[in-house]
Symmetry: C2
Amino acid sequence: MAGSDEFEIIARLMRPLAAGAPEALNLADDAALIPGRPGYELVVTKDAIVEGVHFLASDPLDQVAQKLLRVNLSDLAAKGASPYGYLLVQAWPKAAGASEREAFAAGLAADQAAYRLSLFGGDTVVTPGPALFSATMFGWVREGAMVRRDGAKAGDLVQVSGVIGDGVLGLKAALGELASERLAARYRLPVPRLDLSLEGASAAADISDGLIADAGHLAAASGVRIEIDLARLPLSDEGRAFAAAYPEQTLVALATGGDDYELVVTAAEPLAGFTVIGAVVAGSGVGVFLDGAPVSTGRAGWVHGRD
Amino acid sequence: MAGSDEFEIIARLMRPLAAGAPEALNLADDAALIPGRPGYELVVTKDAIVEGVHFLASDPLDQVAQKLLRVNLSDLAAKGASPYGYLLVQAWPKAAGASEREAFAAGLAADQAAYRLSLFGGDTVVTPGPALFSATMFGWVREGAMVRRDGAKAGDLVQVSGVIGDGVLGLKAALGELASERLAARYRLPVPRLDLSLEGASAAADISDGLIADAGHLAAASGVRIEIDLARLPLSDEGRAFAAAYPEQTLVALATGGDDYELVVTAAEPLAGFTVIGAVVAGSGVGVFLDGAPVSTGRAGWVHGRD
């Protein structure tokens, strides 16, 4: 974007989001400055979302902004890191005007307050294509305390936070295939599990691709096999109602649907706030069972490109 | 991007770019981990480039990748920071295949070697629009040693590195309006001035928007006025040839054209590798002179949105 309009918009909408964060240098510089924090390490995640792919043109832009921050915060939650701040790329179509920019900034402001984050900097450009937003999110962990994906050991318990499957049910609700405001809101505004302690966890991932797929990432990184008992999945009332009618198909759908933004962890002991759903054993891959019988999960969850 | 193809491409093209960088966690995690470096602070910059806006669909993709890294490295150079590593967002049109991805990765590999960088992580997505790439670049500075924009003081000398104006001449050459392979290459592959010491500089910026505009950013941030004598601009042979015919118009064009990726600094003393072109005085804004007479620069350089 060119000219004084863009500088005015940045000053009016973005600078307040950086107020109080010396790291942002008042957004008057080309860089942010992150001071060292003795005894801590910096965890960094980066996700991009594209209009028409990861969100719909009709989605309220304040919620799009919040979802962008939250999917990144969910990655921090899976590392046991505390949110710190973020850099933002906004690529806006030429047709986007002040009201779109204001709605997006309002969403950022709401979640900055909710998660105690500051904007550190970024870049705003015009695109001839659909809107695209990308955040680089920073969090702090105590030195050596980051929970990785590759620490799961045979004998560990496999555990998940919250309930599984509301993400995919929420997508159905957002698409109008299911009448539930609660589930639609759950899909549009996932809640990163920053409230949970990962103390004692040997490995962790957030559930974005689907429980089975994300458990598979842990198994692959750790060189172990993960076995999951679908009968032990914690479900919401809605999930339970569906599972009552068609247990196996429903449980597989909920365990592969994705967008839950809950955590799947392995640990020697049960962790507070988590439900044990299986065990880590020697081998590779993910085994899924229901009432003791193996269950085929087919294509195990939507696999996002991630590098 | 979905499915095993994307995982295969990431493994084949991206993982080698992260080899040897423990920060990247082998690109098998959702996050990168940056250990503290006692006595240092982390400088972070973020730029996005869009096909059809910042580069052309016909531009070789290896050079697009290199330019993305180099414009970010130029920001680090202006801070006096040493390059460390980067996160990358790649948004590829559906039609982009393995050969495009390979060309882009080859450009990354070339500049990682040239500038001793590692890939730390990122995200790859498909877009229904044009290609978009974004990098978050990390560099280290000694604690308290980062050169900011707001330190220019009345009495300081205004100085620039290299030659001014080859960026805009290079754009003309790249567009075929000017026959010079050297200048076209200069535009496509700017050279970030990481070779220069900023020891003693009170303020600095890289010249992306144009010398006058970027000097204006220093003046505004520092609360001072910068006066520049166009007769003192260091020019290339080509720049000098043009300036000989129409001195004032040419010098204004070269000083407002942008894309030089040289540095403009202020310092009490002349710095090695820089040419003194003016002085910092009390007041505000930028005054431009030629042979002692004020020169109108009109619209002072292309103003990118940047926050």
